[in-house]
Amino acid sequence: MKLTKLAAIATAALTMATPVLAELVIPSLSYRTGPYAAGGIPLADGYADYFHLLNERDGGIGGVMVNVIECETGYNTEKGVECYEATKGEGALVYQPLSTGMTYQLIPKVTADGIPLHTMGYGRTSAANGEVFSNVFNYPTNYWDAASVAVNYLLDENEGDLNGKSIALVYHNSAYGKEPIRTLEALAEIHGYDLTLLPVDHPGQEQKSQWLQIRRERPDYVVMWGFGVMNAVAIQEAANIRFPMENFIGAWWSGAEHDVLPAGADSDGYKALTMNGLGMDYPIFDDIQTYIVDRGLASGAGDQIGTVLYNRTIYAGFLTHMAILKAQEIHGVADITPSMMRDGMEALVITDEMMAEHGMAGFGPAFEVTCENHGGPGMGAVSQWDATAQTWNLISEFSESDKDVINPLIEEDSLAYAAENDIELRCN
């Protein structure tokens, strides 16, 4: 009897002593190890540092602390799904898998579980159609936008006329690498350029055949859709055959420091698309220095701050931050659920003023998300590598993609998915 009483008192005391603290759980599916670690490290560091900054500087979001749960995937789709299953029960508000393969696996799962999925500039492009994909968001831009932005840039370079020009697409021979083909083919019909497709098998360590063909056929431009070691090898091979770097444009997953550094000075002038601001000339980096670096809280080795991919997940963190604030505003509670988070993402409005207020003026475009459009404005910019200064520099403004071409493609693909999966259209 005494023991029972003691146990009851102890339980009551423990319950009172440790009240359940509210927290906003953000899983980070990272890949700090494995063949894609060079890209995975800055991506994971930036995402973690952004939320740690909010905790340190602002006391969380709306007074609720953010808990970033990192789960290592090694860029392996199966491990990514395991990480999802292992963390979703923690109250995960949103997933950003940073992998197209994982995205495809997670789309049906998040939809069933009611958790939003944010795939910024990757994943399933047609998920931009919110009428079909209730829980998937790929704002502010996607692969097809990227292809169109690249072609628009080349149009600008050629006084609006690509007729008779030739473009070779060197792409990772995977679902990811094949994403821009449809758009580039559609745009080729409109603008009259000749498109050559040159797939490179994983991992892309050996590309001699592709670059011999480029050397023989001498296309005017080479566009690359690569990832990991494929990028570095392609840039080195382009330099080896003396292909003019200023005519070589990579997608935004082919334009980070680790892609160009192995080729050294030869990579000078190589161009790549970007969806986010570059460098550290933004006030937010002063805060990162003060609240994160100076306090010894930097994620990883703390040596990735300001790199292209670090900035990308700083931007991803900012967009998540804004969506949480919107969800808190809509539902009037600070400790939001995944379902509320989804509502916040669907009602997200990003203005230039908001970006400036958070020390990121001009870091990305202003845009709105709606029930129908989960993809945002589809804007991108072009950057260029300066091998001497070892910096990426923006050489164009953020500009919109050709929506007249892309929207019908998105509609066609998403409606086919809806028909296959018996999905009723929303937003009516």
């Binding site: 050996e206 055949s209 080795a301």
Partner: protein, 336 residues
């Protein structure tokens, strides 16, 4: 049509050169298999580890810096020096020999006279262990090889062939350097294996562990020597491949390119690794050139790209059908 012939010839020559790069990886496999009967799954990771160690030592990187910093709250990353290339190479060879000794001391010693499949499984474990240690020791970021390795189009061949044929052939200086290194390695290893006492002891060990022990051969010393040499070859392969792409963790996947070379050239022949590499290299490059060409498309109604990965294995399988031991492998004779 003559243009196509020239292009095809250029593809074939590049295939030869690329094949030699594959052979550099395959050589390490052959050496260990030939002298210990072990198919060393960890050879690709050894190439990665060797290259990581070389860059780390040369650039003065503190090994296990992340771990040390995390435990002791320090912020050390570099010793602040940059070593001359030759000194860094010598020190890295020392590390690879130390690695060989550790493998023998803590792994192989316990597996003497075990079935080949058990030894193979042990090397799988070793591969993943080394990948993890390499990550902890030197970090996962991409690293640039800072050695005076020539790279880029060979201007002499380009201008000579242009003068002769009106079309300049592209040959990468890196591939030429790799070919020279591979030839030197093959000659040295063949002489060592065939004519030195240690070389003959290696072959005796490969034939039968117990028989070799019974005639007084020190199995443990032999294994340290073999793994040490294989570690050196892995270092060479890692450096040459790392010069193309930077030293990063997908370097370990070059193993996939060595397997068809081994299947074709045989697991026990050092020259076979080179010849096999050349056949695979030429085969895959010429096949890719043919099936991706417009004239093939006009004739067949379709073209193909990215065939190299699978075609190398198809080619190796074709050879296997007719010579299961590979082109140069020892004929397998089982007496009852």
């Amino acid at each position: 049509m003559f243009d196509q012939f020239l292009y095809g010839t250029e593809a074939a020559i590049n295939g030869l050169m690329t094949g030699v790069m594959y052979s550099l990886v395959a050589l390490g496999f052959v050496l260990i298999f030939k002298s210990s009967g072990i198919f060393n799954y960890a050879q690709g990771v050894m190439a990665l580890f060797g290259a990581l160690t070389l860059v780390g030592i040369q650039s003065g990187q503190v090994p296990f810096a992340h771990l040390i910093n995390a435990i002791f709250g320090t912020k050390i990353h570099h010793f602040g020096w940059t070593l001359p290339a030759i000194l860094a190479i010598v020190l890295t060879i020392g590390v690879m020999i130390l690695f060989a000794w550790l493998v023998e001391r803590y792994l192989l010693k316990h597996l003497v006279n075990q079935e080949p499949i058990i030894l193979f499984m042990a090397t799988i474990g070793l591969a993943y262990f080394m990948e993890g240690v390499g990550d902890l020791m030197w970090g996962s970021d991409i690293k640039k090889i800072d050695l005076p390795i020539p790279q880029g189009i060979n201007g002499t061949i380009d201008s000579l062939t242009y003068d002769w044929f009106g079309y300049g052939f592209y040959i990468d200086n890196l591939d030429i350097a790799a070919a020279i290194i591979a030839v030197v390695l093959v000659v040295a290893l063949t002489i060592f294996s065939q004519y030195s006492t240690t070389g003959r002891a290696l072959r005796a060990v490969a034939d039968d562990h117990q028989a070799a022990l019974s005639v007084g051969i020190s199995l443990r010393s032999i294994w340290v020597i073999v793994w040490g040499i294989a570690g050196f070859i892995a270092l060479v392969a890692g450096v040459m491949w790392g010069a193309k792409s930077g030293v990063q963790f997908s370097l370990s996947l070059i193993t996939l390119k060595a397997l068809p070379v081994l299947m074709l050239g045989g697991f026990t022949s050092i020259p076979g690794a080179i010849i096999g590499g050349m056949i695979i290299g030429v085969g895959e490059k010429v096949f890719e050139f043919i099936v991706s060409s417009s004239w093939f498309g006009d004739a067949m109604g379709f073209t193909m790209n990215a065939t190299e990965n699978w075609f190398a294995y198809v080619l190796a399988l074709l050879f296997l059908v007719f010579r299961p031991q590979g082109l140069f492998g020892d004929k397998i004779i089982e007496r009852v």
